[in-house]
Symmetry: C2
Subunit: 205 residues, 2 copies
């Protein structure tokens, strides 16, 4: 809780918001280029133009910077697919995860950020909140499927999203095995099947 | 390849085998207690009774020690369930992964080893080989299901295992979200459904 209290409350368009945006951007650039082991408050200060003392006071060091970069990412809205059926929506989501992380331009920043967050307790807490927020947001595709009568009432939408994407993250961040678009979309199809069968309906427990 | 060439070839019961066993055991104990950042060749030498120069010559430092501890784990046989049907076998496997990693006695060593392996290229290569070996071994439960006519011919057994366990590893090593036995077994059930529907049959591509 004390960590959260340290994070500045941004007023949109205000000076504090601009400072935070600059600091988050600098942290992302530094962690992408140098990794967690090469990340320093000095370099983030130089890159963001924000005084080192301010970074220590508000972010409490590199782990707080990494955590806040994740929190900023979690807050940023991202477009959800709405293809008209669950299978299509989950395939789009799975393909998006695959495409972002394997893209040579787009992939390195989220990969470095997730890897860095795993290195501290503050980072791990932010990482867990980041994924929980993503799961909650994306759960809307399962909730629409319930409304359409495609899925049983009481389906845990966040769990449907986890099922559709876990095999992708498993390869990317655990086993390091190769990943292709077909494998990613098959994970989505497996989640669709399981969800339709009622496996993620909490009433079924 | 040069890394592999460095690993001693063990003759069962021979001196080289005993040395390796001691070194692997010491590496596991050290990485569990101190993590990757606290792992040193000095401490492994002291704990194993193997000379530091030998550790550098044969293992090339801490990353090689971590990699070889994983290779030794991959080589160790582990009992596969044979309950008579795929759903039962996959539930047992998923439950085993859940039970080992969340057990306060058993969990810390494999958790520390996987986390440490992710910190170097040599470790990441060994980690990938470790999981590939595990997937291959456990694929036997899917192969038996094919023989029984439970699954379509051409089913990729390793992929069935990945599907059954990825949601567990996703929580443990990526999101840090809580994990319980029910969630683990539901991942197995989802994999069973997908495999029965032919999703992992390579002919279906």
């Amino acid at each position: 809780m004390s960590e959260e209290a340290r994070t500045p409350t941004p007023r949109p368009g205000g000076r504090s918001t601009r400072v935070r945006e600059n600091v988050v951007a600098a942290t992302l650039a530094e962690v992408t280029e140098k990794g967690y082991d090469g990340l320093t408050v000095d370099a983030v200060a130089a890159r963001s133009g924000v005084h080192k003392a301010t970074l220590y006071r508000r972010w409490n060091g590199v782990d707080g910077l990494v955590a806040d970069a994740l929190t900023a990412s979690a807050d940023r809205p991202w477009p959800l697919p709405d293809t008209g059926d669950l299978a299509g929506d989950l395939r789009r989501i799975a393909h998006e995860v695959y495409a972002v992380f394997t893209d040579p331009e787009l992939g390195p920043t989220p990969t470095a950020l997730i890897t860095a967050a795993q290195r501290s307790d503050v980072g791990a807490t932010a990482l867990r909140a980041f994924f929980a927020a993503r799961h909650r947001q994306a759960a809307a595709v399962a909730e629409r499927a319930v409304e359409r009568g495609e899925l049983p009432a009481g389906t845990d939408g966040a769990e449907v999203i986890r099922a559709a994407t876990a095999p992708i993250y498993y390869r990317l961040f655990v086993t390091g095995e190769p990943l292709d678009a077909h494998t990613a979309e098959r994970a989505a199809d497996a989640a669709t099947l399981a969800a339709r069968a009622g496996l993620f309906a909490t009433e079924a427990d």
